[in-house]
Symmetry: C2
């Protein structure tokens, strides 16, 4: 079997270099390419300047046999990719009639006037094969030049995704013979990277040579990723899965899933399994806990709703937090967050409730309750538990970490029920 081609991802746009847009396309492409056994050798983000695009194309083809390009296909003046590619491959721009018909229909359907710039979206270099863009007006373009494949796609994420899934990945699979890379992912929460590493050091040292472990920490969670490459023996994936029981012996209490999934999805599964309903009461997290819970498709089967009680008045009115509690301890207190969670169970008629109250900052801190002081509670039929955390890395991260900690507490309590 010939070794699979390396892939280079090239994302084009000054907005990427100025940092005004975060490149999320590359991550999606990297994930999907890995699934079909293609390794991304490098991701290069370059400007909208023609000479720099050409220099990057020249370098990419030296590293990789497949170059996937996104961006610079919009209707406006700063979008040069199509023109640069036409020149790079010594090819004229020609009107692609099926694309023109599609673009025309696109505008008719949305009842919008079609502009000349939109019409120009149907111009493509004669040298390319057109990949139909069902959800946008700029088509994908597939070039082959001296054994290297170049594919140009729009930078709009949902258009790129649809082109990748419908056209680019199937074509790459049929164009090359691929030995799949296998990934096994173990999701953990509640223990930091170094402590996990210490606990599983012996297990890690005993991994087979063709299996590599990576620690992927995110705020309040660490994903462990095993990457296995083919070693000429069959059943790579089952052999990798057979490594997990020993891992569980070391860190089983912290594993919430043995597949790529979110903590909120694992929580949803536990709630469904135990036929429990959930409600939320949020102050400092401002709706983020509810938003994460409802990001799971089908959440309406167990999530009845929640209250974002930002003001003290609403904590009392909607959740039944006692005014005396607020007066004696303040809203950021164990007593208040406990009453919020228990009030949510009672008022919203849910089996399980979580609550948050804290000082997200940058203002609002006091000597005894500095910014980053957060209280969490989880109330279940088995009782109420509370946690205090202190975490101050700026408002956004404080809120994110508090929401993550709240979901971690909820998961632990649900698991124990």
């Amino acid at each position: 079997m010939p070794s699979p081609p390396d892939v280079e991802i090239m994302t084009i746009g000054d907005e990427l270099l100025y940092g005004q847009v975060v490149d999320t396309n590359s991550a999606f492409m990297g994930q999907e390419l890995a699934k079909i056994g293609l390794r991304v050798r490098q991701i290069s983000s370059v400007s909208d300047r023609a000479d720099e695009i050409v220099a990057a194309l020249d370098q990419a083809r030296q590293r990789a046999q497949v170059v996937l390009i996104t961006g610079g296909l919009g209707p406006t003046k700063d979008d040069l990719t199509k023109h640069v590619l036409a020149r790079y491959f010594g090819s004229e721009l020609v009107m692609h009639e099926p694309t023109l018909a599609h673009v025309t229909e696109f505008f008719r359907k949305f009842n919008r006037p079609m502009l000349d710039v939109n019409r120009q979206q149907a111009l493509v270099p004669a040298a390319c094969e057109v990949l139909f863009n069902a959800v946008g007006t700029a088509p994908g373009m597939w070039f082959e030049d001296q054994g290297t494949v170049f594919v140009s796609m729009p930078g709009v994420p949902f258009e790129m995704k649809k082109l990748m899934l419908d056209h680019v990945l199937p074509r790459l699979q049929s164009r090359f013979e691929l030995a799949p890379i296998e990934h096994v992912v173990v999701m953990t929460v509640g223990l930091g990277e170094s402590f996990l590493a210490e606990k599983i050091a012996d297990w890690e040292n005993a991994l087979p040579a063709n299996v590599k472990l990576a620690y992927l920490p995110t705020l309040g969670s660490v994903r462990l990723r095993l990457t296995g490459t083919q070693d000429g023996r069959p059943d790579l994936r089952p052999r990798m899965l057979a490594l997990l029981p020993a891992l569980r012996e070391h860190i089983g209490d912290y594993i919430f899933a043995e597949e790529e999934t979110s903590l909120e999805a694992a929580i949803g599964r536990l709630l469904l399994d135990k036929t429990l309903t959930l409600g939320t009461a949020e102050s400092c997290t401002g709706g983020l806990v509810a938003q994460r819970i409802t990001s799971v498709a089908g959440a309406s089967a167990y999530f009845l709703g929640g209250v974002v009680a930002y003001s003290n008045g609403l904590k009392t009115q909607l959740l039944g937090v006692r005014e005396e509690t607020l007066a004696a301890h303040g809203a950021v207190s164990e007593a208040a967050v406990r009453e919020m969670a228990e009030g949510t169970r009672a008022r919203l008629g849910v089996a399980v409730a979580v609550a948050t109250s804290g000082i997200a900052g940058p203002g609002g801190g006091t000597p005894t309750k500095p910014v980053g002081t957060m209280w969490l509670a989880c109330a279940t039929p088995g009782g109420t538990v509370t946690r205090q955390i202190n975490f101050d890395r700026g408002r956004d991260l404080n809120v994110s970490y508090t929401a993550q900690s709240t979901l971690a507490l909820l998961w632990q309590q649900l698991r124990a029920l």
Copy 2:
């Protein structure tokens, strides 16, 4: 004045190439570098393999005089950057005592046992200048080699940010003579990219040669960015700002800010200016509208709270939506969303309320109300307006677009009050 050095950003980590982590560091760095007049020539994401890191370093120094590197400095086995840099610059790893003292204190403060891998964080190549990492254990490292500056920083975003702001940017400013690039950003909502371009075509064509316009569309919003480079005449920024009145004549109704800010921040400013309070009632958006509103520091001055009424029972119980309305029209209807918004004004005692109800998908669609059918309402002292949107690009985008449209509706209504 010598021309400023180009910068290359190198992000290191297999997790970036596999797409398991989105690179947000580069965007932050690009923004901050632009502010001090440094242009990012290319962003390169490479693997954890030593030979590929070295190849990327060799290429980066041909394109740029400053190479900013993030990632691969963690305590675990897959983190190679420090070792590769030591070899690349022909330098030994030595124990950096101030860093060791800092790491030791770091663990003592958080009351955690210090492991040998943590101790090794204080080893640095003898050739570098150490940049103190106040918020983590892996220090930054500054190298100069044959006129090129190389800086290595941790990949953890808040550690990288603090190192950039405290050390790297000030050092770059003092090391090079910089002619600042000027950016003027105009934030718009409510009109798509092509239509904006059509409306401002004459204005755009008349821009001075040293001022470049870019369209930066995100879901439901387009940012216009003017980039001005020095042309030897004084007052570049005032001259750029003087271009805006003519722009306002064309698209003033769609401009919510003339600076880099969010729609929710612009809404907050309007609420403060008009001394109005706000509440939210969310079904399909599941808390995202409240979360965006509360992402603005100081939101507690105008945001009292909200309800995530996912179940019909809570729509009735907490917001006073009539059971007859739900029976006759369903929860996803103009009548229901109107009662949600008006109920929020009445029950939560807020001046202004927004409400959302829709079918986020993937399940729950019907022939008359397919997935992506969304109703929005905004109730103010001046009355209630509703909007229907149809948008189906998957659950996450459906929810994001609905939240964005709700904020757009709220902004329009507040502006008119």
